[in-house]
């Protein structure tokens, strides 16, 4: 399960690379040499913006979600549970934060395990029992162990660069059009490259979402390897599935980091959602439980 999810992530990241290459190739076909200069600029802009949010992810997310850091004395039981999973996983103790929100949810972030932060809504701390909360903590620390902040930063950088390239090229088309009009370029190749440039940003967002979904499944599998107790996480997900409230702040920018997507899953098609359907995740965990008996 874990190995398969990792392979798929690598495949998808490579897909991103191929898409980037396709965009460059299309730009060169369509615009000739003048299109080439745009690519390093786009990658640069995207890299700077994403790198900044990646490096300061723990602090940035605190401000974006309104989470407050807490100390061991504030909630010793929660800290005990987190310590249990850090022992099981060999990870350092993360910073812990609480979001005052009745909707049950949790997330993890941080550029590396030493700068990890995990946050819980007051709602999740109220409704979940020991085993369920342990499953949730294991899922969040699994994201930390799998370096998912880095994976999503890489995905976001490439998707951002592709969006910038096709945006700039669309403007060039509008203002100047093709420079080497007299060249003997194949009209079919030109048409294909135009289609690639238009569809690439859409494909990039879809790939980014697919990567996010794979990382969620991977985190579920890694969480079970920490706790050896799929039932805890399964019943936690059932609580989340049964609960209809969603976290108040619905910023799409941080949607992917929560354990349950805060965006209404029904309004977004499956291709663009950052999480696999929760029933699918429950079914996978149930099959793990049966294997254990």
């Amino acid at each position: 399960m874990q190995a398969a999810n990792r392979r798929k992530t690598i495949g998808l990241l490579m897909g991103m690379g191929v898409l980037m290459w396709l965009v460059v190739y299309a730009a060169l076909t369509y615009f000739g040499g003048s299109g080439a200069g745009i690519v390093p600029i786009a990658v640069g802009i995207s890299l700077i913006s994403v790198w900044g949010s990646y490096y300061g992810s723990d602090k940035l997310v605190l401000t974006m979600t309104g989470a407050k850091l807490i100390q061991e004395s504030d909630n010793p039981k929660l800290f005990d549970l987190i310590q249990e999973i850090t022992i099981a996983s060999g990870l350092p103790m993360p910073k812990v934060a609480v979001v005052i929100d009745d909707a049950p949810n949790a997330f993890a972030t941080g550029r590396n395990p030493e700068h990890a932060l995990i946050a819980f809504t007051t709602g999740i701390l109220d409704v979940m029992d020991r085993d369920q909360l342990q499953g949730v903590i294991a899922h969040e620390l699994a994201h930390v162990a799998n370096r998912d902040t880095l994976v999503s930063a890489v995905a976001a950088t490439t998707a951002g660069a592709i969006a910038i390239v096709s945006d700039i090229l669309a403007r060039m088309m509008f203002f100047g059009g093709r420079r080497d009009r007299d060249s003997q370029a194949n009209p079919i190749a030109l048409l294909i490259s135009l289609v690639v440039l238009i569809l690439a940003p859409l494909a990039a967002v879809m790939l980014k979402s697919a990567i996010s979904r794979k990382r969620e499944s991977l985190a579920d599998a890694t969480a079970v390897s920490f706790t050896r107790n799929p039932a805890g996480l399964r019943s936690a997900l059932e609580v989340l599935a049964a609960d209809s409230t969603v976290v108040q702040q619905r910023s799409t920018a941080v949607a992917h980091i929560w354990i349950e997507s805060p965006l209404d899953a029904k309004s977004v098609s499956k291709m663009f959602s950052t999480h696999p359907p929760i029933q699918e995740r429950i079914a996978v965990l149930k099959s793990m439980e049966q294997l254990g008996n």
Partner: protein, 184 residues
């Protein structure tokens, strides 16, 4: 040209040797750290016991044999040094503590006391921490032993002075079943 290729080959071989050696050393250190974590958690549990026994005694005076079992098991657990001895004493103490908590079930006043409830919560998380530190230790021993036995890292084991390590096996029929998760 030949010189550059020759140097590159030598450099590649050196990198390979160093990475193999370092991997074994790193695995060995992780096992040491995992072992230290088990000892920390066992000590934590041993420190909880006198308080717990006193609390239960306050309500249930006639359960001397249960108290004796816990005290003996604790003494054994605190003096054990080798992996096998520690594991055996750990299993005995886990069993004895279970007996103590079963006795407590029969005394409603004790079960309702705030002191007992907080001790019980602390014991529960400590038992979990002991179990998870065992699991982490055994996972790392498995990686180390595999590295020591498989090619190519096995060639470097003698040089790095890294040998196979002992698993931490607790004899306890009630131990939580490890689910057999298939990774496909």
């Amino acid at each position: 040209m030949e010189l550059i290729i020759g140097l590159a080959v030598v450099a590649l071989i050196a990198v390979f040797f160093i990475s193999q050696y370092n991997r074994l050393i790193r695995l060995n250190i992780t096992v040491d750290e995992a072992w230290a974590q088990i000892e920390v958690q066992l000590k934590r549990r041993a420190d909880l016991i006198p308080n717990l026994v006193e609390t239960v005694k306050g309500y249930a005076k006639h359960e001397q044999s249960t108290f004796d079992a816990v005290v003996t098991a604790r003494a054994k657990a605190t003096t054990a040094t080798t992996v096998a001895d520690t594991a055996a004493a750990d299993g005995m103490l886990t069993q004895a503590l279970r007996g103590l908590l079963a006795v407590a079930e029969a005394y409603p006043d004790l079960k309702a006391s705030a002191n007992f409830m907080s001790l019980q919560e602390e014991l529960a998380t400590t038992e979990n921490k002991v179990a998870f530190s065992r699991q982490f230790y055994n996972d790392n021993v498995r990686s180390l032993n595999t590295a020591v036995k498989t090619i190519p890292s096995s060639f470097f084991a003698g040089f790095a002075k890294v040998t196979e390590r002992e698993f931490y096996e607790v004899e306890d029929p009630q131990d939580r079943n490890v689910p057999n998760v298939s990774f496909n």
